[in-house]
């Protein structure tokens, strides 16, 4: 059976031949009992053909979903059922009780194990920018691999000098070297235990701890590919953090439409959908409040990654910019991803316009980055986006 790694390796070669890559990393959410979802990482690909587009333009305008079939009594126009748009925590997902901390942790563990795999697949050359030494609440360790440890008997590289020393030492104690001025090396006895090797070992590099806020617009306009792109990027970022920093990075998740809310874990963050308007500032405000209330700025390097389609009811972005300014006083990096709908065209979205106009991108270029991409992006562009955000 072909493995995921082999498939990705083959996919990489497409670029050499001048074709775009085709395999994306997808996620399947597995519903578990008691709301413990599990995310399974799978490759996906689409066979592109000339086909009809399945969206109907008219319906999109009316804010209506696709019609389907139905059976039952009733007159035309009768409402036959309702479904809440905004999933509330603890309901709507079929979970009643059972969200006790013990069980919740189990679910989290499963996604992290899979995210770890994904992180490994992603390249390792990302690094969190502007990490500063702050407090000692929890040490964030990065791991590097180096040939620093020595081992007797087996290993990767023979340390000749150390080995020779050891041999001389052994032979001296054996009495094989009666006169140190004339050493007859042919009489040496070499024990396998005398061979000193250097071995590859994991070195902890202690760095400061980091706290990452993932912030996502989940309003009505975020339908379809835009959400896919943002979620993909955040899944990758999250997976990379889990892998690179060995789960030592703390993460918080914020969703917003016209109001912001914090959700407890990544599964919820990534799977919730609503249809409402958009007020971007609410999310930034919530982050600021959390940071202030819990006094996080003292102990953590704080990173905020925000994904949106750039739509904002607050056209001038006055409140958003104010919240961002506030945030800039403590963050290590704000990374804003704007995924544009195909129908908008470039340089059109509100968020993009007011952020550019405000000049904060140049004034605080080391603290805030913005990346704008189209909704039809492939994985390599998304990864490029991550690089931009953390450069």
């Amino acid at each position: 059976m072909v493995t995921l790694d082999e498939l990705l390796e083959r996919d990489k070669k497409r670029e050499q031949d001048g074709f775009k890559r085709k395999i994306r990393i997808g996620q399947i959410a597995k519903p578990g009992s008691g709301g413990r979802e599990k995310i399974i990482v799978v490759p996906t690909t689409v066979e592109e053909k000339l086909v009809h587009d399945d969206i109907s333009f008219r319906q999109q305008q009316e804010g209506e979903g696709d019609p389907t079939g139905g059976t039952g009594d009733g007159q035309e126009g009768d409402v036959i059922g309702e479904q809440p748009v905004r999933p509330e925590q603890g309901e709507g997902e079929g979970e009643g009780d059972g969200e006790g901390p013990g069980e919740g942790k189990g679910g989290e563990h499963e996604i992290e194990a899979n995210a770890y795999e994904l992180g490994k697949v992603l390249s390792q050359d990302f690094e969190l920018p502007n990490l500063k030494d702050k407090g000692k609440k929890k040490a964030l360790a990065r791991y590097v691999y180096d040939l620093t440890d020595k081992n007797r008997g087996v290993g990767q590289i023979l340390d000749k000098k150390a080995t020779l020393k050891k041999i001389v030492e052994t032979n001296m104690s054996l009495g094989n070297i009666p006169d140190v001025s004339t050493i007859d090396t042919t009489r040496f006895i070499v024990s396998p235990q005398d061979l000193i090797y250097r071995i590859l070992s994991r070195e902890k590099e202690y760095e400061s701890q980091a706290l990452v806020f993932f912030v996502r617009d989940y309003s009505g306009s975020m339908g379809g590919k835009v959400t896919q792109a943002v979620v993909s990027q955040h899944v990758m970022l999250y997976s990379w953090l889990v892998y690179q920093y060995e789960k030592q990075v703390e993460t918080r998740f914020i969703l917003h439409d016209t109001e912001a809310r914090e959700v407890s874990d990544f599964q919820k963050y990534y799977s919730y959908k609503v249809a409402g308007g958009t007020k971007v500032y609410t999310a930034f405000k919530l982050v600021n409040e959390i940071v202030e209330k819990e006094n996080l700025a003292r102990d953590y390097n704080i990173y905020v990654f925000h994904g949106t389609d750039g739509d904002d009811w607050e056209k001038d972005g006055k409140q958003t910019l104010a919240e961002i300014e506030k945030m800039l006083t403590y963050v290590a990096r704000i990374g804003i991803t704007i995924v544009e709908h195909a129908y908008v065209g470039s340089k059109q979205t509100e968020v993009e316009k007011y952020i550019n106009r405000s000049g904060i991108l140049t004034k605080h270029s080391h603290l805030i980055k913005m990346d704008v991409m189209a909704e039809n992006v492939d994985d390599s562009r998304i990864i490029q986006g991550i690089k931009n955000l953390i450069s």
């Binding site: 399947i28 389907t68 079939g69 059976t71 249809a275 409402g276």
Partner: protein, 547 residues
């Protein structure tokens, strides 16, 4: 994967006898295999043909299928493939009574495969054997050409929905007996009636003159061309127009691509042939899904209820049958719809409702009481299963009687801003709307043909006949890159797209907050304006031009 036990095979043979008595027709030999769900995951990307060629997309699908299975385990009862002998796969550990029901279902599928005329071109192909030969050829080419072989498969599959399925089928069914459009037809059918609009007595006079000329072996047209000097020119024009545009993009490229004609690229042709033939083989299956499933469900119900082996398992059967053929409250189930439609057709025909007398009746009560006791329904549904595909099946027989009887409706879904909920509501109970919705969900590749007059100077020019549905824009670039690769030159594609409106749906809602004020804004009715655009792929770069 192993054959079923002798005991189970015995059940199958017993089912065959009873199914034949009921009128189903199929070959004697069939093969039944027991497979695990894991086997099925590996088979499904290969459209259930175990010997299909290897391709990386299949591997990707197997991997994601495994992930999917882990998250959402499913347990399909059966899968049948249209081979000779017909092969069917079963889940392990079915009790005997359930096997009886499933076998009836499978036998009806086989009957459908082997009698529906849309499958005619698959009847003489041993697909399992053919696929094995193809698989070997592809494996050999892969060892010689490396990943370029996979690119050719990819590009060929990128256009495997643009094949001349109907044209090929037409050819087989008419077997060269197709009537050619000739001067006589043109003169009497079009020229005299439509172009000249001559009075009836002249028309009749011309017919007797034609018969007279045929008898005397004289040339009828000498006088015609003398009287109407423009006749020949008009005929020539009409004949050119009547010629169908080339819709089989794959075949056209195989035949005329300058790139494939080069000796070093000959091998690509065999690959494209394999992809094209595989696609053609599965076309009838995609186009008869509702019918095929409906037919199988109809027969497993009819046959199993009369079978003595159901005794003691009536409740079990009812439960399983309901899970397969119940009409969902909201949503579509092709099994259920097809089955009910076959039942409906039989009853309507039994009563003689497919008649002028019935259609002419306006009185609701009389319509309900209408019964000519024709009792030809059973025979009639066999004719339907032989001659129709999903489109004609639904378009012809899905009527208001059917909708009312089963209380069907089109369910709409809309946003309620006050309550922040999605509301499901009954949008329409009209047969017309329901039919339209179903037909919209059927397989229908875009109608793209070669514009032969514009295909010159090394350019391949594709023309998309617009049917109020734009093409999926995101797929255009890569697909055209593939076609251009196999063509060996620039490819142009003409299609229609909506005129870009600045931020549809966003502009008017920005200033105020619907969740605060509580009412929803009247959506602005902007009729979509379509315009023709041309996509050009040249040197692997996509350009878009508005026409």
């Amino acid at each position: 994967m192993e054959l079923v036990s002798q005991h189970v095979k015995g059940i199958m043979e017993e089912c065959k006898i009873r199914a034949r008595d009921a009128g189903l027709r199929f070959d004697d030999e069939t093969l039944e295999y027991i497979v695990t769900n894991r086997d099925l995951i590996e088979l499904s990307p290969k459209v259930m043909i175990p010997t299909l060629y290897d391709y990386w997309v299949h591997d990707v699908k197997v991997l994601s299928g495994k992930g999917m299975y882990e998250a959402y385990p499913s347990n399909p009862f059966e899968t049948v493939i249209n081979t000779r002998p017909a092969i069917s796969y079963y889940n392990d550990n079915n009790p005997d009574w359930l096997n009886v029901m499933i076998f009836y279902h499978v036998l009806a599928h086989i009957d459908f495969f082997q009698n529906n005329l849309f499958y005619k071109n698959t009847w003489d192909i041993d697909i399992a054997g053919q696929a094995l030969a193809d698989k070997r050829l592809i494996a050999q080419l892969r060892s010689e050409k490396g990943r370029w072989l996979d690119y050719v498969i990819e590009f060929a599959r990128g256009m495997d929905n643009l094949v001349g399925f109907h044209r090929d089928l037409n050819r087989t069914l008419s077997q060269g007996r197709r009537h050619k459009f000739n001067r006589t037809d043109f003169y009497f059918d079009l020229f005299l009636q439509k172009i000249k609009s001559v009075p009836q007595h002249i028309y009749l006079k011309e017919i007797s003159r034609y018969n007279q000329c045929a008898k005397d072996k004289q040339d009828f047209f000498i006088q015609v061309t003398g009287q109407y000097p423009e006749f020949d020119e008009l005929f020539r024009k009409e004949k050119n127009q009547a010629a169908q545009p080339e819709r089989d993009i794959m075949e056209y490229i195989l035949r005329y691509s300058p790139f494939l004609r080069k000796e070093e690229n000959e091998w690509m042709k065999s690959v494209i042939h394999i992809i094209r033939n595989t696609s053609l083989f599965f076309q009838p299956q995609i186009r008869t899904k509702t019918m095929n499933e409906g037919w199988a469900s109809y027969w497993h119900e009819n046959l199993f209820l009369k079978d003595d082996r159901i005794c003691g398992h009536e409740a079990d059967y009812a439960k399983i049958n309901a899970s397969v053929t119940a009409m969902p409250k909201v949503g579509l189930n092709p099994y259920a719809l097809g089955m009910r439609l076959f039942e409906h057709i039989r009853e309507m025909e039994d009563k003689g409702c497919y008649s002028f007398d019935y259609v002419r009746l306006n009185d609701e009560v009389l319509r309900k009481k209408f019964d000519r006791k024709k009792n030809t329904g059973r025979k009639f549904i066999f004719t339907v299963r032989e001659n129709m595909d999903d489109f004609s099946f639904i378009n012809t027989f899905l009527d208001q009687e059917f909708i009312d009887r089963h209380k069907l409706f089109v369910a709409g879904k809309r946003l309620n801003n006050q309550r922040m909920t999605w509301q499901y509501y009954i949008k329409s109970k009209k047969a017309h709307d329901y039919k339209k919705m179903i037909i919209n969900s059927l397989y229908h590749p875009p109608d793209i043909s070669i514009a032969e007059d514009k295909t010159k100077d090394g350019i391949l020019y594709l023309d998309h006949r617009f049917e109020n549905k734009p093409l999926k824009q995101a797929f255009i670039e890569n697909t055209l890159i593939g076609i251009a690769f196999l063509w060996g030159g620039p490819v142009h594609l003409e299609t229609s797209e909506p005129k870009t409106v600045a931020q549809p749906g966003a502009g008017y809602a920005n200033f105020w907050d619907p969740s605060a004020s509580g009412t929803s804004p009247e959506p602005e009715e902007i009729p979509i304006q379509w315009q023709r655009v041309r996509y050009v792929i040249k040197d692997r770069k996509l350009h878009r031009q508005e026409l």
